[in-house]
């Protein structure tokens, strides 16, 4: 892992060839973001109120401030 990071740092520091090297790194991070978001959505699937319609309809707040 450390070696991989080392490699990546080296490629990004060679400025001219960056365009060629950059897409895999972008894809890595976008895949990581997607995996994180998928995990969040899995959790929301678990905790979301089963009867969403009633939950929303019954939430009424009158009076305040």
């Amino acid at each position: 892992m450390a070696e991989q990071e080392q490699t990546r740092r080296t490629t990004t520091s060679t400025t001219e060839s960056q365009d060629v090297e950059a897409p895999p790194a972008d894809r890595d991070s976008s895949e990581q973001l997607k995996a994180e978001l998928d995990d969040i959505l899995d959790q929301i699937d678990q905790v979301l109120e089963e009867n969403a319609e009633d939950f929303v309809r019954n939430y009424v707040q009158k009076g305040g401030e």
Partner: protein, 494 residues
Amino acid sequence: MAVSKVLGIETEYGISTGRPGDDPIVMSTLLVNAFASKLAHHIRWDFDAESPGADARGRVQPGSLAPMIETHLANAVLTNGARFYVDHAHPEYSSPEVSTPLEAVRYDRAGEEVLRHAMADVARSYPNAPPIVVFKNNSDAKGNSYGTHENYLIARDLSFGDVIAAMVPHLVSRQVYCGAGKLGAETTSFDGPPQFQISQRAEFFEAVVGLETTLKRPIINTRDEPHADATRFRRLHVIIGDANMSEVATFLKVGTTALLLAMLEDDGLIEPIELADPVGAVRTISADPSLNATVELADGRTLTALEIQEILLGQAVRYVERGGGEAIGDPSQVVEILRRWEGSLHGLATDSPSMSATIDWVAKKRVLEAFADRHRLSMGDPKLRAMDLQYHDLRPERSIASRVGLEQLVNQNDVDRAVTEPPRGTRAYFRGSCLAKFPREVVTANWDSLVFDLGTDPLRRVPMMDPLRGTADHTEQLLGSVRSAQELLARIES
């Protein structure tokens, strides 16, 4: 010379039993009483010093009603210096006065813990009551809004006209980083209702300046009730903000506002941005998550909300470069406010989804869209509306905000301590410490005094007219060395 920016955040929480017939006042009272009945002290709030009808403009507008104070409702003062009570139909937590933006975040989070404890206390103390669920948000999506109010100590000699001129453009545009977001619209303010709004509160504002908080809500509220020496201080009562789940958003909300107020006190009004239609601008900005919408200035120019914020940030950066910002209480926090402010504006301008760890509306919008995509839902689907509400749900097992990857600024141990321990940098230290140490002798309290009953003498009132006295520096040693309330009062009066 800027006065120290003593701050506080008041939050009216939404509540639901899932049964629309349940009386919200009764449910709010159960929450406050169940929590308060555990406390060693049972004291009343002292209303003598309350005058919420006083107007900063020195007059009361015809037809503007002073907010009602309902003295018969549940009221508790906590050992952390906060007030926890029933305000109309909501449980409200008014944080203790704090001396830095980061402390404001910590004591705002402590308020969430108080409400979480209260939910559990109701279940334990009133087994026949329905479970009460608490939400930290500002609207029910049916046209009812309730407030999250910020308070800032400012100098009395500041011209209120200058406060209005300096604050309107900020309060109109800061929602881009401190809006809590919501689906759709619930008033008739828009020609074409937006699918998603940046702010929960924006569409409920109908005036630029005024005294009201529930009708014709103004961007600048003129309530002139300093809870302190009125010859030296004013309390700016800001009612336009959203309740934030993101700690960074709370930090920026109060940090940027406090810094701009300090700048106004130190340097006067510098190049104010005069909006042609501030009320319309609040809505225009809220209705456009693309952040491209422009609003018109009085001189005919047009700017986006991000451009307005860039100008204010630039002024604040130069103010700090000139040595300003001392009033914020902690130089490292001033640096952090500027860093996060700039980072937020840059992130929003270049790739707004990248701000999902710190900006509530961005975090919410991202998961709503991804969830809709995953399950092929239209944006009006009840599941998405439930998500919108559950983002603010304080039940750990149902909370969505706690699952979307929001960055934390305060660790949980520090939050838990803040539920019982007062902040050290303001008079809240003396208030909270006296309640903890002399629960039987302190009979009433409010923001600017404590009343002791020593059993023999008449009641003794200890005034606390300066929010910056009664700090740990001033009183910790004294409180540690006295063995009784009699001794404390004798030492104070000697």
